[in-house]
């Protein structure tokens, strides 16, 4: 196993770990944490594998395109977190609940 593959596997492990937490935990803040960890895992796959690219002459520089994509992803993640937290705080103010409740209807 090489270093890029190693980190990609760590990323995959984070994704699965976060998916478990997302399903199991009811508290909405915890779900937000889980989604953040999951996105970190996806980013780790993206960047980790990018390290396979460098040739012999430029061994240090990773592929810049996945880096730019992950930067975009990080900003999207913080926007999602901010929006989700605003909605969750509002739900708490209205109902006192910090979970979704079971009103799915089926």
């Amino acid at each position: 196993m090489t270093q890029p593959v190693f980190w990609a596997l760590v990323g995959m492990a984070l994704v699965v770990l976060a998916l478990y937490a997302l399903i199991v935990h009811a508290h909405l803040l915890r779900k937000v944490l889980a989604l953040n960890v999951m996105s970190s895992g996806v980013f780790l796959v993206f960047i980790g594998l990018a390290r396979r690219t460098p040739g012999e002459d430029v061994p240090m520089a990773a592929d810049p395109v996945p880096q730019a994509m992950v930067l975009t992803g990080i900003v999207v993640a913080v926007a999602a977190t901010g929006l989700a937290l605003a909605l969750i705080v509002r739900l708490r103010v209205l109902t006192g609940r910090t979970t979704l409740g079971d009103d799915t209807g089926d």
Binding site: T2, P4, V5, A8, L9, M12, A13, V15, V16, L19, Y20, L22, I23, V24, H25, A26, H27, R30, K31, V45, L49, A50, R52, T53, P54, G55, V58, A61, A62, D63, P64, V65, P66, Q67, A68, M69, L71, T72, I74, V75, V76, V78, A79, A80, G82, L83, L85, A86, L87, V89, R90, V93, T99, L100, G101, D102, T104
Partner: protein, 238 residues
């Protein structure tokens, strides 16, 4: 199903393991098995990838002289794949709109800081603004750029808010809205103008002006990112 909510009304307030009571053990075991299977598939996929790998590092290297900047990540973010970055700024503005649509912020003036928080902004805020400016400038040829700089500015806003620093009235009105959308507006306007030039395409920066255009966009984007992040911290419309 996956996000099916689970309220555990029985769990007492002091219960430390509320979540653990949400799923019956059998379902939990099934879930763990299913996720292990997913993980195995993901591992298999990663291991099957060849090495050395295809990528765009060489392609970026080849065209970077036409991009207006010498740092490859900035070149990708603001030139080669600038459209992604534009949409990403839209995502930030959208998050603020969404947060504002559900409620008002309690305001920062009500925060009563401790002695440390009262002093911290005096020291930190100017320094952070300075570092943000440096990061923005250096982004053209080294790691750094609008996002890192903008989040530092956002940090300044958060510090000021925590320390109960009263924002001037104008900062809560139209000026706030204008600075939140400035990044998108400048980026999109320049992008459309570029399309109207003869032989141009949307967001197609002429190599001679590319550096100026990119710095202009980054400056506006930095300001917007800072304002948006601070506004998200405030948690609602002013």
């Amino acid at each position: 199903m996956m996000l099916r909510p689970r309220t555990d009304r029985q769990a007492g307030p002091a219960s430390s393991a509320r979540a653990d009571k949400g799923l019956p053990p059998a379902a939990r075991a099934l879930l763990v098995l299913a996720l292990l299977a997913v993980f195995a598939g993901l591992v298999l996929a990663v291991l099957s990838l060849s090495e050395p790998a295809p990528g765009l590092a060489a392609a970026v290297d080849e065209r970077i002289d036409e991009s207006g900047v010498s740092h490859p990540v900035t070149a990708v973010l603001l030139n080669f794949r600038g459209y992604d970055t534009l949409l990403e700024l839209v995502v930030l503005v959208l998050a603020v709109m969404g947060a504002w649509s559900v409620g008002r912020a309690r305001g920062c003036a009500g925060n009563v800081p401790g002695p440390l928080l009262r002093q911290l902004p005096r020291l930190m805020a100017p320094l952070m603004v300075l570092v943000a400016g440096y990061l923005l400038w250096v982004g053209a040829h080294a790691p750094g750029g609008a996002f890192q700089a903008g989040s530092l500015l956002g940090g300044v806003g958060i510090l000021l808010c925590l320390s109960g620093y009263p924002l001037p009235g104008w900062a809560n009105g139209p000026a706030l809205r204008v600075s939140a959308v400035l990044g998108v507006a400048v980026f999109a306007a320049l992008g459309v103008v570029a399309a109207l030039l003869p032989g141009g395409a949307p967001l197609d920066w002429p190599p001679a002006q590319a550096k100026t255009l990119i710095l202009t966009i980054e400056l506006a984007a930095m300001l917007s990112i800072g304002v948006v992040l601070a506004a998200l911290f405030a948690g609602g419309r002013p």
